[in-house]
């Protein structure tokens, strides 16, 4: 019923608009086409000016309303650079925006058709053209210079003391692997992936670097003020590790590992205080279309102090022991003997 009313109202609206439009054409014919055309011209000239003024007020209003809902303080050192670049660009482009839009609508209004004026024959002027070629070129050179300088800082090599975490995207969730005490991620091979045998990322158990690697899902833990290098991959389709608060982003591509590094500046707890939001949590969003669950492919990050992190990591059992309980020193000797036949069947390729 409601739909019917909406359709009826729309149809009526169309009909009325159309009748007005038709009538205005008849009026134009009656009153003399030229005269009514000139009147319409004045109205539209005025409307253009009004659009400029109301539009600029709208731009201001929109900013007042929404500026509190965006960005917030960048939570990583690289994020500071990104935001600085953003605001420099914003300042320059906003200036250009105002100048050109005002010129466009003001000229349109000012030079609307009038019987008193003749158009000025002005086909070209080399000096003017040179000016507005050179000025944008210089401005852009500055922006490019800053941009590339920051870009190399952000994409350069991670510092030697950076911790490593492997991030793997899959439809529709995130998996993480920590290198453990040796600081080295063990080798993996995709054909070894076998969640049923507790090998979700396809680790090669023969590689001893794998023996202390810790596997977790959905929630990543990082240490505040300690650089972290993410080694990023994907199992099925392309995903993207989007970290809005850190202003970082990198695709997760199956078959082609990618990396990015940054240093978190604030712990989750500090961010809760800074944002005044007790529910604050660092989120990982998938930013690359990956299928029907793309919009809900969410992971979280806990940034904490070194002590908290160490305690958390210590509470996790290396995946090697989860997959091969017989090798686990914490499991009692007799239970290992009980499961002795499995020993030979170490899962590898």
């Amino acid at each position: 019923m409601q739909t019917f009313f909406i359709v009826a109202i729309l149809a009526l609206g169309f009909l009325i608009t159309f009748q007005i439009a038709k009538a205005s054409e008849y009026v134009a014919v009656l009153r003399g086409y030229e005269r009514s055309r000139k009147q319409t011209n004045k109205i539209n000239g005025f409307m253009l000016l009004a659009f400029l003024i109301i539009g600029l007020i709208g731009v201001y209003y929109c900013n007042e309303k929404l500026k509190g809902k965006i960005l917030g303080e960048p939570a990583s050192d690289h994020g500071v650079l990104v935001d600085r670049m953003l605001y420099v660009t914003l300042a320059i482009t906003f200036l250009v925006f105002i100048i050109t839009q005002v010129a466009l609508f003001w000229f349109s209004y000012k030079y609307q058709e009038s019987d008193k004026r003749k158009a000025f024959y002005f086909p070209h002027n080399n000096k003017l053209e040179l000016i507005w070629t050179v000025i944008p070129a210089i401005t852009l050179t500055i922006l490019v210079g800053f941009g590339i300088f920051y870009w190399f800082k952000i994409t350069g090599d991670a510092p030697d003391d950076a911790m490593q975490v492997e991030v793997v995207g899959k439809q529709f969730g995130w998996e993480f692997r920590y290198p453990g005490k040796d600081g080295v991620l063990g080798k993996k091979y995709f054909k070894n992936v076998n969640p049923a045998a507790n090998n979700p990322v396809g680790q090669i158990w023969d590689d001893r670097y794998n023996h202390d690697d810790v596997f977790v899902e959905q929630e990543m833990h990082l240490v505040v003020n300690k650089p972290v290098k993410l080694v990023i991959g994907a199992k099925d389709v392309i995903h993207d590790v989007g970290l809005a608060h850190f202003r970082m982003k990198m695709d997760a591509v199956p078959g082609t590992p990618t990396t990015m590094w940054f240093t978190p500046k604030y712990t989750t707890k500090q961010m809760k205080e800074k944002t005044g939001n007790p529910d604050f949590v660092y989120e990982i969003s998938c930013d690359q279309m990956c299928g029907k669950g793309h919009w809900s492919m969410r992971g979280t990050i806990v940034v904490e102090t070194q002590e908290e992190f160490d305690a958390w990591l210590a509470s996790k059992k290396p995946q090697y022991y989860v997959a091969n309980p017989d090798k686990d020193p914490s499991v009692k000797k007799d239970s290992v003997i009980a499961s002795a036949p499995v020993t030979g069947a170490v899962i590898n390729r």
């Binding site: 466009l104 053209e129 922006l143 870009w151």
Partner: protein, 601 residues
């Protein structure tokens, strides 16, 4: 007949007589309106087909805007129409992604490529250069019918059981290469690829024709530097298309191979739904290079014709020459060249080598220089003019405004440092909709309002035209301006519901507003379509061959020109097309010889 097309001015008269003989016999309905080889009719076919697709693509956007604005609300009517795709009156994720993908594909390729440059290149090239038709009218007809078949295949894909392709209009593998990845990755994606292949054939046939026509068939006196700017724009558009579409074709065919023949061009190390695939050694990123090697020039394929037409319309209606004709030409040329050298700016965060990234930053921001030149030249064209605000003029002014707004946000995205944060967010959506989508649409509307009298011998209703402009202009800014803020907050594209997120859930009211406005804007476009068809039959009749007082050749034909465009000899050209307001005269047509006492410019 086609002999007569190879106009050589010396023998033009003889051919013209020959042509008139042919004009006498009655054409059947089929050869006149369906399988027509008249460039004007083919242009109209492109336009009307484009309009049908625009309504379909626009309707899709209204549907997914409903989901974005009212994620919790149930619309039972949707279930009535779409069944299990909108179970319980709510748009399901597969349906949502199908809609988004089709909206993008349809609008970018079928409407703004075929509908825009197909229409106006066909209509304007022979008329403005002084030719009887295209170099090959037959290929021209084929071009339309390949487009038509591509459309049929795409339309069919919407009705298959598993739904249309839903991997996004960019169709990145492995998502698009793996049937296991989702419903839309089944037969829908194959149909999408086949449709695109047909579309590319259409586009190439059209493009080659436009190039050869412009280079070979100009009338006497019509040197390249006397060409009106729309023709130059169409020329560069066609060159871009001819050089870049084959690359997309190769990308699409390799993808078809990966899907159906077990090759591994794009596939490596894949475990999907617990199934380990045998493919090794492919590169998913390769497709992105192939895609964007077309994809970026495609942006300019869409934009350049609009720029050309806007230049013409602004000049005619401000009764003043276009400012800096040679600079306009040079900037078109620069844009066309740079269009090929910036594609990887779509790939800054794919793990691209950072050094390569920095080169693309430089080249990308370089493109802002010719764009700035164009904007300043348009502004100066308006300056001290005597402007008539026809609906076409208003749309042209709107185009400049949108091009400025959308172009400036491009400076954010082209800078890789900022792109790290903004990549694939709503900021990108806002940016390209303003600069490429709405701006090109404005160029297209401007063209339709301006050349409608030439197409049909009648005017569009002005009052409806003004309403159309103002609602669309205000609506476009209301929809896309605040959307930038969502992107700055980091909200990714293609998120159909943000309730599950702590960081992205603060724009509920804004999303509602955008949805309401987009429905209104869509309704007004329907009003334009009504105006269009009503005016073809009932519009006010054009009574003078040159209603806008314009210099270009199309206005020297009869009000309703027949096949062959000019009765008798093709006019000779003596000057550039922008002598408005010169020596105290309102306008001096291109056909008028240069007077002895005329001032030089």
């Amino acid at each position: 007949m086609s002999e007569a097309m190879n106009v050589h001015s010396g023998v033009a008269a003889a051919h013209a007589v020959h042509h008139d003989d042919h004009g006498h016999h009655e054409q059947s309905f089929i050869s006149k309106y369906v399988f027509s080889m008249d460039h004007k009719t083919i242009g109209k076919q492109f336009l009307i087909t484009g309009m049908v697709w625009a309504i379909i693509g626009g309707l899709f956007s209204v549907l997914f805007r409903l989901q974005l604005g009212y994620p919790d609300q149930s619309f039972p009517i949707l279930e009535t129409f779409f069944g299990h795709w909108a179970k319980g009156g709510q748009i399901q994720p597969e349906f949502y992604y199908g809609l988004v993908t089709m909206h993008g594909t349809v609008l970018v390729f079928f409407v703004l490529t075929a509908g825009l440059s197909g229409t106006f290149a066909n209509l304007l090239i022979p008329l403005q250069i002084g030719a009887r038709d295209m170099a090959s009218p037959f290929l021209n007809m084929l071009s339309y019918w390949f487009f038509f078949i591509a459309g049929i295949v795409m339309l069919a894909s919407i009705f298959v059981h598993t739904g249309p392709a839903s991997g996004g209009w960019t169709m990145y593998p492995p998502l698009s290469a793996l049937r296991q990845a989702g419903e839309g990755q089944k037969i829908g994606t194959d149909l999408w690829l086949i449709s695109m292949a047909l579309f590319i054939v259409s586009s190439l046939l059209g493009g080659l024709n436009y190039i050869s026509t412009i280079l070979n068939m100009r009338t006497k006196g019509m040197s390249m530097t006397r060409l009106p700017l729309p023709i130059w724009a169409m020329f560069f558009t066609a060159v871009l298309g001819v050089l870049s579409f084959p690359v997309l074709l190769s990308g699409a065919i390799l993808l078809l191979f990966d899907r159906n023949l077990g090759t591994s061009f794009y596939l490596s190390d894949i475990v999907i739904n617990g199934e380990i695939l045998p493919n090794e050694g492919g590169s998913a990123i390769l497709y992105q290079h192939l895609f964007w090697f077309l994809g970026h020039p495609e942006v300019y394929i869409i934009l350049l014709p609009a720029m050309g037409m806007v230049s013409e319309i602004l000049s005619v209606n401000s009764r003043k020459p276009i400012f800096g004709y040679m600079a306009m030409l040079g900037s078109l040329f620069a844009i066309a060249i740079l269009a090929f050298l910036v594609w990887a700016h779509h790939m800054f965060v794919t793990g691209l080598n950072p050094f390569l990234g920095s080169v693309f930053v430089l080249l990308t921001l370089l493109i802002a220089v010719p764009s700035a030149i164009k904007v300043f030249n348009w502004l100066t064209t308006l300056w001290r003019g005597n402007i008539r605000f026809t609906p076409a003029t208003l749309f042209a002014i709107g185009f400049v405004s949108l091009f400025i707004s959308g172009g400036l946000t491009g400076i954010f995205l082209g800078n890789s440092t900022i792109d790290i944060h903004l990549h694939d967010t709503m900021f990108v959506v806002a940016h390209f909709h303003i600069v490429m989508g709405v701006a090109s649409f404005f160029g297209m509307f401007a063209g339709v309002y301006h050349w409608f009298p030439k197409m049909f011998g009648r005017y569009l209703n002005n009052t409806l035209g003004y309403m159309h402009f103002w609602v669309t202009m205000i609506g476009a800014y209301l929809i896309f301006w605040p959307m930038h803020y969502q992107g700055l907050a980091g909200i990714p594209r293609r998120y159909l519901d943000k309730k599950g997120w702590v960081s992205f859930n603060q724009f509920g009211e804004l999303d509602k507003m955008i949805t309401v406005v987009s429905i209104i804007v869509f309704a007004v476009q329907l009003m334009f379509v009504f105006n269009f068809f009503y005016s073809i039959f009932k519009g006010r009749k054009v009574t003078t061959p040159n209603p806008w007082g314009a210099n270009t050749l199309e206005w020297t034909t009869k009000i309703n020109p027949g096949h062959g465009n000019w009765e008798g000899e093709i006019p000779e050209v003596h000057r550039w097309p922008y002598d408005y307001g010169k020596d105290g005269r309102d306008f001096i047509p291109q056909t008028e010889p240069v007077g002895a006492n005329e001032s030089k410019h």
